[in-house]
């Protein structure tokens, strides 16, 4: 067991050993321009296309539907804006959930600045989007695109993607599913027209995102056009990192059934234990229908930054959606939309291999840290 327990997999999963091996091997052979015709180039091209085929298979897509981007964020930006652009004639209205990743919200802001409209569908106390309102929103005329994440990155709650997709299909509206938190851990929910994900969340290297556009979905790059990646993503691909990303995805999925069930049981242990050992705490998000690795709770009267600092000193890397801990002064839009406490917030997200002993040690130190912070703040 290492000295620091890394519990921030939702931010970035440590590199999978298979990815590391693949990366080192591919750095030596996959450096040439895959668009050229000489030997080294053909080798890079082969590696790239083999990785594309593997990723496509893992995500339930065809290879020619898959493009590689430079991050999950870029996949979302290009996916949202490219689909809106491709469907301009159908309408200029975008429908999204209120707890989508900031990349979705920021792409929506660009769309609004350019004269488009955005409708944000609210969530319940668990962070799940209001399906009735979502279905009603996509039924109105002029909807060019709807977006829904597979599971929430801050609280883990799974979204009703299959049902939302059915509502979209009924009205001919494409659905973009942001699967960043579940790809490599759970099957991709059915019904998407555009799918995005990020390799460093499944144990691949950072700097590789995936943008999948279903055949038949109108799409036109929002950026200056380029020959690469089926004209969807400009710029020279990072072939070694893409090869490593594909290796990590395959390895993670092969282990997923057993490992994600194990992590999910540890999450259950945290969910059940924290309210018993820490007074005035609320565990948030759906207890059952959720991403396997994420659990979030909020401690009343506690400054989230102080708690993160104490946990760091005690050897735990965790994150928080509280305002003073993030780089912004606003609390997390996810917690706000749910209507749950935005202060004293701790997100634990377990990486592959997280040890039960580490979780137990976390549960052993947490009560006293919270008690001390409350005491220092003068809370009786």
């Amino acid at each position: 067991m290492s000295l620091v327990a890394y519990f921030d997999a939702a931010s970035s999963e440590p590199l999978h050993p298979r990815a590391r091996e693949a990366l080192l091997a591919a750095v030596d052979v996959g450096w040439a321009d895959p668009a050229r015709l000489y030997g080294q180039a053909r080798r890079a091209h082969l590696l790239l296309e083999q990785a594309r085929t593997e990723v496509a298979e893992a995500l339930g897509a065809r290879p020619d539907e898959v493009s590689f981007t430079s991050s999950g964020t870029q996949a979302v930006h290009l996916g949202v804006l490219g689909t809106l652009h491709g469907r301009r004639r159908a309408g200029r209205h975008l429908v999204t959930g209120a707890v989508e990743h900031s990349s979705v919200l920021h792409a929506g802001q660009v769309h609004e600045r350019e004269g488009g409209t955005v409708e944000t569908v609210g969530v319940d106390l668990l962070g799940r989007v209001d399906l009735g309102r979502f279905a009603a929103a996509v039924a109105r005329p002029g909807v060019a695109l709807a977006c829904l994440q597979s599971a929430n990155h801050e609280v883990g709650t799974a979204q009703p993607v299959a049902a939302a997709a059915a509502a979209c299909a009924e009205h001919g509206v494409p659905l973009l599913v942001d699967a960043a938190q579940t790809a490599g851990r759970m099957p991709v929910p059915p019904g998407w027209s555009v799918l995005t994900a990020s390799a460093h969340k499944w144990g691949g290297p950072a700097g590789v995102g995936v943008l999948v556009v279903r055949k038949g979905t109108r799409f036109r790059s929002y950026l200056p056009e380029d020959e690469r990646e089926r004209r969807r993503v400009p710029g020279f691909e990072n072939v070694p990192a893409i090869v490593a990303a594909a290796a990590a995805l395959r390895a993670s999925l092969a282990e997923a059934a057993a490992e994600q069930a194990r992590l999910s049981a540890l999450v259950d242990r945290i969910r059940e234990t924290v309210p018993k050992i820490v007074p005035d705490v609320e565990v948030i998000g759906d207890p059952v229908d959720r991403a396997p690795h994420i659990v979030t709770f909020s401690c009343l009267y506690v400054d989230g930054e102080a708690l993160l600092t104490e946990l760091d000193k005690a050897g735990f890397a965790v994150s928080s959606g509280s305002s003073c801990t993030a780089s912004t002064l606003r609390p997390s839009h996810v917690l706000e939309a749910m209507g749950v406490l935005t202060h004293g917030n701790v997100r634990v997200s377990l990486p592959r291999g997280a040890a039960a002993e580490e979780v137990d040690r976390f549960l052993a130190v947490l009560p006293d840290l919270v008690r001390r912070i409350r005491q220092d703040a003068g809370v009786a």
Binding site: Y301, S322, S323, P331, L341
Partner: protein
């Protein structure tokens, strides 16, 4: 705004960051009689979400949040027990 119950106590948490407005509210709600209203004046955006969330957790009633002309809100809470 005309039907708003006059608060029995006003807590000035303007300029204070969460969780301080919530700590002040928890400390002082017992100073007012049952069913009386406490107004928390706060301008940390977190308080706008956190005071109603505190009411839900502590089974008090969030009556309403009213924008203040100088920025921030008067967040009204009814003491339930």
């Amino acid at each position: 705004m005309t039907e708003v119950t006059q608060p029995a106590l006003t807590i000035d948490a303007l300029g204070k960051k969460c969780p301080i407005p919530i700590i002040m509210l928890a400390e002082q709600i017992n100073y007012v009689p049952l069913n009386a209203v406490v107004a928390v004046l706060a301008d940390d955006p977190a308080a706008y979400t956190d005071v109603p969330a505190w009411c839900r957790l502590k089974s008090h009633r969030h009556v309403g949040s009213y924008e203040l002309p100088e920025g921030g809100w008067a967040i009204h809470v009814r003491r339930n027990y």
